[in-house]
Every structure is written in C-alpha cells, then in structure tokens.
C-alpha cells in the first residue's frame, strides 16, 4: 500500500504518454511494415499496459513483492495456455519423415 503519494504532474505525464502512444499505434497501422505491424502494435500495447500497471496501479512504488509475483504468475499462466495450445496448432498438418 503506497503511503508514497505520487505527484499529479507525473500522473499527467503518464497520461500524455499514453495518449501519444495511442495516436502512434493507430497511425502506424496504416503504414505497410509487413509482419512487423503486429509486432509494433503489440509492443506499444504492452508499453501502455506497463505504464498503467507501474504508475496508475502503483506497482512501481509498492514494497509488496507478492503483488509483483501475482502479476507475473498470471501472465505466465496465460502464456502457458497460449503457447502450449500453439504447440498443437502450429504443428498440425506438418509432415515429417516417418510421421504424417
């Protein structure tokens, strides 16, 4: 629990950054970067999410390690769901020697 009180200026700065990133991500979508479009979009989204988590949700200022562990665990579990499922989807119909 933060007894630490964050300055309004910092909040507004974070807000401004988030707004800029929003405009950027929407604009970049119109530029042809091939497969990089998706990467850029997700990187920007993750950046925005991080700003919200660290500053608006005070995670940067908390002394509670458990909070950070909960966040990391949840993301890790989501990645388990996504990646292990992809292990199936990305290898269907793939023909290797000796298996079909």
């Amino acid at each position: 629990m933060p007894e630490h009180i964050i300055s309004s200026k910092l909040y507004i700065g974070i807000w401004a950054t988030l707004m800029c990133l929003t405009v950027i991500t929407a604009s970049v979508a119109f530029i042809d970067l091939g497969p990089l479009n998706t990467v850029v979009a997700l990187v920007i989204a993750t950046l925005k999410a991080l700003l919200v988590v660290l500053f608006f949700m005070h995670v940067k200022y908390t002394s509670e390690k458990l909070t950070k562990m909960v966040i990391v665990a949840a993301i890790f579990w989501l990645l388990i769901l996504l990646f292990l499922s992809l292990a199936d989807y990305s290898t269907r119909g793939v023909i290797h020697a000796g298996m079909s």
């Binding site: 458990l66 579990w77 388990i80 292990l84 292990a87 199936d88 989807y89 269907r92 793939v94």
Partner: protein
C-alpha cells in the same frame, strides 16, 4: 475426559450454540458454520450423483439396453459426472474441511473475507438450484465434458442451463480459493512461518492456486458455449470454420488441473492423519510441501493428454505425454514420504488411519494407471474405454473421497464436540474399501478387453465383470450411508469429545471442541515446528465414541 452421553447442555459457549435460528445460520459469516452449510449442500448432491451412478450400474447388469433408453443413459452418465465433480468433489474438502480448519490452523479468528465466504456458499446454492432445474427438466446428454459441436449445435437438451449453472459454481470455487490464499499469506499467527505450517495448509494453498488460475478458463469456455447456443456465435462450429478441438483445449486446460483440485486437499488430509496415527513427524516435510506446489504447477502443463486421439498433432501429443509423466513424480514423492513416516512408527488403526491407508494404496493404483494412459501407444487402445473410467474413479473415489471421509472422521470431534462410534467407523471404512475395489477393479479389465465407456449396451462376454462391478457398488453405497447416519446420531448421542482426543499436533487441537466462534481465547504464538509428535503424548485410551 469423555463422560457419559448426551443431554449435557454445554454451559460453555461455542460456535454451534452461540446463536439459534435459521437466520443465524443463513446469514452467518463464521467460517465454521459456513463449512457446515457446505457439508449439508454437498452431501445432498453426493447422494443425487450416487443415485445416477446406481442407475448406471443397474443398466449395466445386463448386456442389453433394457432398463433405460439410450438417450436417457447418456443423460445419466452426464449428470452423474457433472453433479459429482462440480457439486461434490470440487467443493468437498476445501469448502467443508478447508473452511472449517484453515483459519484455526493459521491461528486466525476467521478467513480474510468472511462475507465473501458466505457469498461463495450462496453462489453454489444458486448454481445447485439451476442444476436441479436442469436435472428435473431432463438434464444434458453431452457428457460432463460438453464437447462441441454436439453441445453447441446438435444436442436437444438443457445445455444452456447446465453451462450457466457450472459457470456460477466456478465463481464459488474461485472466491473460496481467493479467500484461502489471502488468509494464508496475511493472517498467520506470530511465529507461524511457512515451514511450520501444517501440510494440509500447503495442500489447500496449492489447490487454491489452481482454483484461481484454472477455473476462469472454464468459465469463459462455458460462456462461449452458452453464447453459441443462445446467440448463434460460430466459434466452435465446423461449418463456419470453427475448431472443435479449440473447445477441448480450453475445456481441458481447466478440467485437468481440476482433478488436482480434487486430490490435493485429500493428500493434505492424509498428511495430517498419517503422522498422528504413527506418532511421528512427517518424513521429508519440505519435499511434501513443495510437491504440493509442484503438482499445482505441473498439473497445468498436461491437459492435452485427454485429446491424444482427438486430432491434435503428433508432435504436441508427444510433448504432452512427456509432461504427463513428469507430473507423477511429485505425487510419488508424497506416497514415499507417507510410507516412510509410517515406518517404525507407533501405528494405531483408528478409522481416520484406515481411510488414509486405503487412500495411499488406491491412489497409487489410480496414479500408476494414469501413467499407462499417458503412454501414447497404450492410450490409443484404452482411451474411451472402462480403463479410463476405472483409472479416474480409483483416484477420485479411492483417493479423494476416502481422504474426505478420513478427514471428516479425524476432525469430527473438533467440529461437533462428539465422538462417532469407532467400531462402526471401522466397519464402514472396510465396507467402503471392499465395495470400492469390487466396483472398480473389474472395470480395469473390462476396459483393457475393449468395453467402451458411455455405452448403454455391451457384448455379452463382458457381463460377468459388469455384474461384479454392480454388486460392488451396492456394498459401496452401504459404506457411504453408514457414516451419514452415525455422524448425525453422534451429534445428539455421541460421547462428548476432548479438545484433542487423538493427541494430534496442530493449532486447531489447542482450542475447545467445538471451538468458540472466535476460535481461540487468545491469539496463539507458535514457537514449535509442525508435527512435533515427539513432544505430544499419545492419548492413553483410544477414543471409541
């Protein structure tokens, strides 16, 4: 000391007599009363689910489908599974024994969020009501597994109601897990470090993690099925490009870890009973504690072993097969450590100990047969046969239910302030053990010989084994009814129990039986390690109720 029976009104105030009337129960926030509310609810559903099982076994007495129609049979096994899993096994130990014991074991006055605890119970009640409506209006015939597109597009049964019901039950489960995790992290008594916690707490903690991280995926999956049926979304519809296997991935991502929700608390109970009735510290406390966490984590990595023949890629099948082997390791560590705890212990064969020992044997068989199933080559032959049915009943019934009954007997003096009749307890335990094995061991053979599951008729050569199985189920039913009767009997006529009739370690035994509403008269301060049986004298006489 235990005195003669019953009409002694407790001059001492405790959680049962502190307030009377239905409002004091339905609006309680006392975790101990909520535990009893759950006990009542899940016992009712245990018998409903058991009733469906008896009908199944009756049908399977003869090869022909002559008791019920095929569609009805589909509904019977579907409702048996849903009721037993969501309204009995998943809540059982966490919501009854966990709710009752967790605050006491950590030295707290209640759980972190008592009102949310009550909400959890009401959510299960609401969900149970919807499920009862579903049952009365014909149930579902999709199997408890709800596979698409049958459940979304072709079944003519009450899939939406069943889906909504289980969705709500899921939130009951999530909130219970949330309550436990916060309580265990934030409300331990002074001096109660993690390494001094009872292993039951470690098991409940691991279970709660699974409940928190897995159940939401079931919730969204069932919601999507309901939306598909209700609003015509096409996410699982092959005609619109949907993948039925996507449903299975999402479903089993929860439902496999769910089996660990069902078994881990039982393992925790066994970890409490074994040292007490061996008068020894647990062998390898840290290993057992960490094994619980390992089971919770690894349990999330293996789900597609339910889908080996469904159409997943061979490559992913191999990965999941390997991972499935690895999850057996922490379970095995627990079995070894329980056995080592008993070695050279001073064993007393009281009823809880009989259940715990039965658990170890039957869980081992069930677990080893799981390894058979994890092997791709064998699975191709025995999947969707009675081999699978036997496997999971050995773990769920031979394991989880025996652990639950053992725990009920072990903590009954604490919960009720009374002793159950020990000789009847032993008799029922043996009846359960014999009935269980007679019911389910033949099913391993049936499955291996090729009898498919979920079929309402079968070739005549399978009849003998089926008859044995049905005979066993009637014996098993007797074994289950007996404790219900004598527990109720004991609440009025049972011998008054000591605070600690078993001479057990653990904070819950340091308070009165039954406990006062706030659990302890003074907040305990813990300066001793768990299972300090070298310091606790064994009770002079065996409590016999």
């Amino acid at each position: 000391m235990a005195t003669a029976t019953a009409t002694i009104t407790a001059e001492r105030e405790h959680y049962l007599n502190t307030d009377y009337g239905i409002r004091s129960w339905l609006l309680t926030t006392d975790h101990k009363r909520i535990a009893l509310l759950y006990l009542a609810l899940i016992t009712v559903f245990f018998f409903i689910g058991g009733f469906f099982a008896l009908l199944i076994r009756l049908e399977l007495l003869t090869p022909a489908g002559d008791l019920v129609q095929a569609d009805t049979y589909n509904k019977l096994f579907s409702m048996h599974g849903q009721v037993m899993i969501f309204f009995f096994l998943i809540p059982s130990i966490p919501a009854v024994l966990g709710n009752f014991l967790v605050p006491m074991m950590v030295g707290a006055k209640d759980l972190a969020f008592p009102r949310i605890n009550l909400l959890s119970w009401y959510l299960l009640v609401l969900s149970a009501g919807i499920m009862l409506y579903c049952i009365i209006t014909g149930g579902v015939d999709t199997g408890w597994t709800f596979y698409t597109p049958f459940s979304t597009a072709f079944s003519n049964t009450h899939v939406i109601e069943a889906g909504v019901s289980i969705f709500i039950a899921g939130f009951s489960s999530i909130l219970t897990g949330l309550n436990f995790v916060v309580t265990i992290h934030r409300m331990r008594a002074p001096g109660l470090t993690w390494s001094r916690l009872p292993l039951f707490i470690w098991s409940i903690y691991a279970t709660s993690i699974i409940q928190l991280l897995g159940t939401p995926v079931l919730a969204i999956t069932l919601l999507l099925v309901v939306f598909e049926r209700a609003f015509g979304l096409g996410i699982f519809d092959p005609a619109r490009g949907g993948d039925p296997l996507l449903f299975q991935h999402l479903f089993w991502f929860y439902s496999h870890p769910a089996v660990y929700i069902m078994i881990l608390p039982s393992m925790g109970v066994v970890s409490e009973i074994i040292p007490c009735f061996s008068r020894k510290r647990v062998f390898g406390y840290s290993a057992v504690a960490l094994a619980s966490i390992a089971i919770a984590v690894f349990g999330f990595l293996v789900w597609a072993h339910h889908m080996f023949v469904a159409g997943i890629s061979l490559y992913s099948a191999m990965i999941f097969s390997m991972l499935s082997y690895s999850v057996a390791v922490p379970s095995a560590i627990k079995v070894f450590n329980w056995t080592a705890t008993m070695y050279k212990g001073s064993i007393r064969f009281s009823t809880p100990m009989l259940y715990a020992m039965g658990f170890i044997g039957l869980f081992t068989i069930g677990g080893l047969t799981g390894l058979f199933l994890a092997a791709l080559g064998i699975d191709v032959h025995v999947t969707d046969t009675y081999f699978v049915v036997a496997h999971f009943h050995y773990i769920m019934v031979g394991g989880a239910v025996m652990g639950y009954l053992g725990g009920l007997h072990f903590w009954w003096p604490k919960i009720s302030g009374r002793l159950y009749p020990e000789w009847l307890g032993k008799f029922a335990a043996l009846t359960v053990f014999l009935g269980f094995n007679l019911t389910f061991f033949p099913q391993f053979i049936l499955g291996y010989l090729g009898m498919p599951r979920r079929y309402w008729q079968y070739p005549p050569e399978f009849q003998v084994l089926n008859v044995l199985s049905t005979a066993g189920s009637t014996i098993l039913a007797v074994g289950y009814v007996l404790p219900m009767i004598y527990f109720l009997w004991s609440m009025r006529y049972g011998k008054i129990a000591d605070p600690n009739p078993w001479g057990a370690a653990g904070l819950e035994w340091k308070t009165q039986s039954p406990p006062p509403t706030s659990n302890f008269d003074e907040t305990p301060e813990v300066t001793w390690e768990a299972y300090n049986y070298d310091e606790i004298p064994a009770p002079e006489e065996v409590p016999v109720g």
